[in-house]
């Protein structure tokens, strides 16, 4: 199964995503330059973290106009798996692949730390192998991760089970203390209706090796691997 990792000018987690796919999972992985029009036969697309286009205007706002994003949108439309991680989540929201938007952290600080998230939905290509309510620890590194959405859409997200991850505390509760960036309803990640597109602020691709502190990101990649092979 081939992973395509999009490199925008300013992406800085594309190599981590390649490491996750190629070194840890042993799958072919190719970096896709943002100006390309060709996904090079990739089965799975990763929109990685970073500061695409310097976060000019708004985080993710300019990246969605990159030529490759037309192909990524078409891939998503066909049901192909896409994950947006951190800046990639912001890009996916700006591109309309996922609902909502990411705003400045409530505490205004750039947060670089491990967090615990709870799996709220296992009906996606990226969480199929997770247990309901499974807790995962992985790093965050963002200044604009406060998930926001209008009231009507929030009701739909919650009603239809489109919230995939929530920030939780040590007891597994979605408490205010666990909500590090002030996201609505502690939302750390969401999915589209079809379940092939998932976005989240935490970094599963940086939680793939015990040497780096956590292997909890592995299950997302194993899920998509199983989904595509199925």
């Amino acid at each position: 199964m081939k992973f395509g990792i999009v490199s925008f000018p300013g992406s800085n987690c594309d190599d981590d995503a390649v490491f996750a796919a190629a070194d840890v999972l042993g799958q072919p992985a190719v970096k896709l330059w943002h100006k390309d029009h060709d996904l090079q036969g990739s089965d799975v697309i990763i929109l990685p973290g970073g500061f695409s286009y310097g976060d000019y205007l708004r985080a993710g706002a300019i990246a969605r106009f990159s030529p490759i994003m037309q192909e990524v949108a078409a891939h998503a439309q066909r049901g192909g798996p896409v994950i947006g991680i951190c800046n990639g989540f912001q890009i996916a929201c700006e591109a309309g692949l996922l609902p909502g938007a990411l705003m400045r952290n409530a505490g205004l600080k750039f947060l670089s730390m491990p967090v615990t998230i709870r799996v709220e939905n296992t009906g996606t290509r990226w969480t199929a192998l997770c247990r309901d309510g499974q807790r995962l620890t992985m790093p965050i590194a963002h200044g604009e991760g406060r998930y926001t959405v209008d009231h009507a859409t929030l009701e739909r997200l919650e009603g239809e089970g489109l919230v995939v991850f929530r920030y939780v505390d040590a007891a597994g509760e979605a408490s205010p203390e666990a909500n590090v960036n002030g996201s609505l309803d502690n939302i750390a990640g969401v999915r589209n209706a079809a379940g092939n597109v998932v976005g989240l602020m935490p970094h599963p691709e940086r939680a793939m090796d015990a040497l780096l502190g956590s292997t909890d990101g592995l299950v997302l990649f194993e899920s998509v691997l199983a989904a595509v092979h199925a």
């Binding site: 929201c93 938007a101 705003m103 400045r104 205004l108």
Partner: protein
């Protein structure tokens, strides 16, 4: 076609938490500006554009705001001015 300079204010949508605005308001309070109730920090854009007339220039910038300049989920915009340049 004439040359116009259109100014736009983009601000966080009312009712959404605006931590940056709150931090600035707190700083102003510390300086003794106790009368300050709220501060909203946004962006000011100046767009120089060709248009048939001022109305057309404004209409074009409104569409730009809807499609790119303002995030429809989190931000509001207002045209602050349209001037011949």
């Amino acid at each position: 076609m004439k040359h116009f300079r259109v100014s736009v204010h983009i601000v966080p949508r009312k009712g959404l938490l605006d931590p940056q605005g709150k931090a600035v308001a707190d700083a102003l309070h510390s300086l003794g500006f106790g009368a300050v109730r709220e501060v909203h920090v946004g962006r000011h854009l100046v767009i120089e554009t060709e248009a048939a007339n001022a109305e057309a220039a404004e209409a074009a910038v409104r569409e730009m705001c809807t499609r790119l300049l303002a995030n429809p989920v989190t931000e509001d915009y207002e045209i602050a001015g349209v001037a011949s340049a």
